[in-house]
């Protein structure tokens, strides 16, 4: 007959997966709102403040506050994308044209499976990380899958069969490949540092890396150069300004999504913001201590489910601050020229990442030897 425990397990995982997708998509939607609001504030405007649900607007204080903050704007934006006319230009390659937005969104949503957001100790004293799939190659999986997102952009650029999307797609692929190297190299010293000296188990798991920052300092303080390179590469990988080569609306109209409209454009849009949400979460996990409180301080909350909730909330606060930082940088810096992007990636960041790696190899070797009194 049926194995009820197995079914139960699968059901729970499926529910968790839906919750996670819901949470990330909501955050992506609200990042769009945050982008509009923050840009407006930085430019002396007020931003979206008209949308309101019926009845909610009539609640005395809360209603007008929510309206002023534009809380319901993402809903209106989403519905707009949904109800707009689907226009498919005659000159596109239909199959790949439809495939591209899906290919762009799927990697963004796949990486969230290895994204831990908290942990708690259950009744038996076993520490359980709150994660969909606790892979011990977590970060490798994230790097591998998230770089697949470029296929969506390249496919969109190519299948649109039009010059601006094509240029956008080419730029994007070149940029992503260039910064992937610096990104990977900047992470190596982090994992060198974290893996315990002398132990045979060294893990690429994101849970392990957060645990290593518990009660000790954040990796941002130990490895500022790695963090800086990773952050810059993250900006490039998520196609944010100052690296938004694939879009660069001033010279490429809309970049890779010039020929896209309505819901297909909406999917690209959401994918971009989902990338930002997940990128911020990864940076938080790696360099900002994940769900741990502050550097050198033990968590003031317990390890039970209550503490786990607070920890998760703290992690989300850090992630949101980082998303704000992304938006903040976007509305501060101008876009790089394309050759400058390549120059920065290949002649500055890559050598710097290599030097950083070699430096930390020596440091870690020296520390390990002195700790273990190895010859």
């Amino acid at each position: 007959m049926f194995d009820y425990e197995l079914i139960q397990l699968i059901l729970i995982k499926v529910i968790f997966a839906f919750l996670m997708v819901g949470a990330i998509m909501t955050m992506a939607g609200y990042s769009v709102l945050a982008e509009r609001k923050v840009s407006a504030w930085m430019q002396g405007r007020v931003g979206p403040n008209r949308t309101v649900l019926p009845f909610v607007g009539h609640i005395p204080v809360v209603g007008s506050l929510l309206k002023g903050l534009g809380i319901f704007q993402p809903l209106a934006d989403g519905l707009k994308f949904l109800f707009k006319e689907e226009i498919v230009p005659g000159h596109v390659n239909k199959f790949y044209y439809y495939l591209a937005p899906i290919v762009a969104l799927v990697p963004a949503l796949t990486t969230m499976t290895v994204l831990p957001f908290g942990e708690f100790v259950n009744a038996e004293g076993v520490t359980i990380p709150l994660i969909l799939a606790d892979l011990d190659i977590g970060i490798l999986f994230v790097l591998a899958v998230s770089s697949l997102g470029v296929y969506g952009i390249v496919l969109a650029g190519w299948s649109s069969n039009s010059k601006y999307p094509f240029l956008g797609g080419i730029r994007s692929s070149a940029q992503m490949i260039s910064y992937e190297l610096a990104m990977g190299l900047s992470l190596l010293p982090v994992f060198l540092w974290v893996s315990e000296p002398g132990s045979t188990v060294s893990s690429l798991s994101l849970v392990e890396i957060v645990r290593s920052q518990q009660g000790s300092t954040w990796l941002l303080i130990i490895q500022p150069i790695s963090a800086l390179i990773f952050l810059i590469a993250l900006f490039a990988e998520t196609n944010r300004l100052p690296f938004d080569m694939p879009e660069s609306e001033t010279d490429l109209v809309g970049g890779f999504h010039t020929e896209y409209g309505s819901f297909k454009f909406g999917i690209f849009f959401v994918a971009e913001y989902a990338h930002i949400v997940i990128g911020s979460a990864i940076f938080t996990l790696l360099f900002l201590g994940g769900w741990n409180f502050l550097p050198w301080l033990d968590n003031p909350w317990g390890a039970d489910w209550m503490g786990a909730l607070i920890g998760t909330g703290w992690f989300i606060i850090k992630t949101i601050s980082l998303i704000f930082f992304f938006i903040w940088v976007r509305w501060t810096l101008p876009r790089f020229r394309y050759d400058q992007v390549m120059d920065l990636g290949w002649t500055k960041l890559l050598p710097l990442a290599l030097a950083n790696l070699i430096f930390y190899i020596f440091v870690v070797t020296w520390l390990d030897q002195s700790n273990l009194n190895l010859p």
Binding site: V38, W41, M42, G44, R45, V46, W328, V329, T332, L333
Partner: protein
């Protein structure tokens, strides 16, 4: 002639070449901008302050005695570059005491706001100071017919403006003294 002095450009320091301090500075500027007062005008609720001499929608005005000033001379119709004005001249009914001496008045006065270019020539040319471009700037309608302002609408928009001359009162007085011109 002033002599041009070519200054040597100082080589950038290391921190300047990384651009990071400059980026931090820029971030500081944008962050402080977030808390400055907003310049947005919440339009339908808040209206902009209209300056004097603003050229808004052309309107017909009455003098402080409530008399129609336009004498239907059709100069505005003639001068109007896009031909937006159409006047049907008419006479002044007999027996109107305070309009005695005025020979004509417009029977119908139409300004097509879809044609009007707000140049203000009509106001400039009007010998009776009867047509003014005032502070009304927003005109909208669902059909072309709605966008043609007729005489009633024009007087409603125009209202009454102070008069410096009371030209026709003077004429009447002069005529009473046997000196009609």
């Amino acid at each position: 002639m002033a002599k041009t002095v070519v200054l040597d450009r100082k080589p950038l320091s290391f921190s300047e070449r990384t651009y990071l301090p400059q980026i931090a500075n820029g971030l500081k500027t944008t962050f402080s901008n977030m808390f400055k007062p907003k310049v947005t005008l919440q339009y339908p609720e808040e209206k902009p302050k209209i300056p004097q001499n603003y050229r808004g929608v052309p309107t017909l005005v009455k003098d402080p005695n409530g008399r129609e000033k336009c004498v239907s001379c059709q100069l505005c119709e003639f001068v109007c570059p896009p031909k937006a004005i159409r006047i049907t001249p008419g006479g002044v009914p007999e027996g109107e005491d305070d309009r005695e001496h005025v020979e004509k008045a417009p029977e119908e006065f139409e300004i097509n706001m879809l044609r009007c270019i707000y140049c203000g020539y009509c106001q400039e040319v009007c010998p009776e100071e009867a047509i003014f471009l005032q502070d009304e700037y927003s005109s909208s309608g669902y059909s072309r017919e709605e966008m043609i302002n007729n005489k009633a609408k024009l007087y409603e928009l125009g209202g009454t403006l102070p008069d410096q001359h009371y030209k026709w009162d003077k004429k009447k007085k002069a005529e009473g003294q046997g000196n009609s011109h």
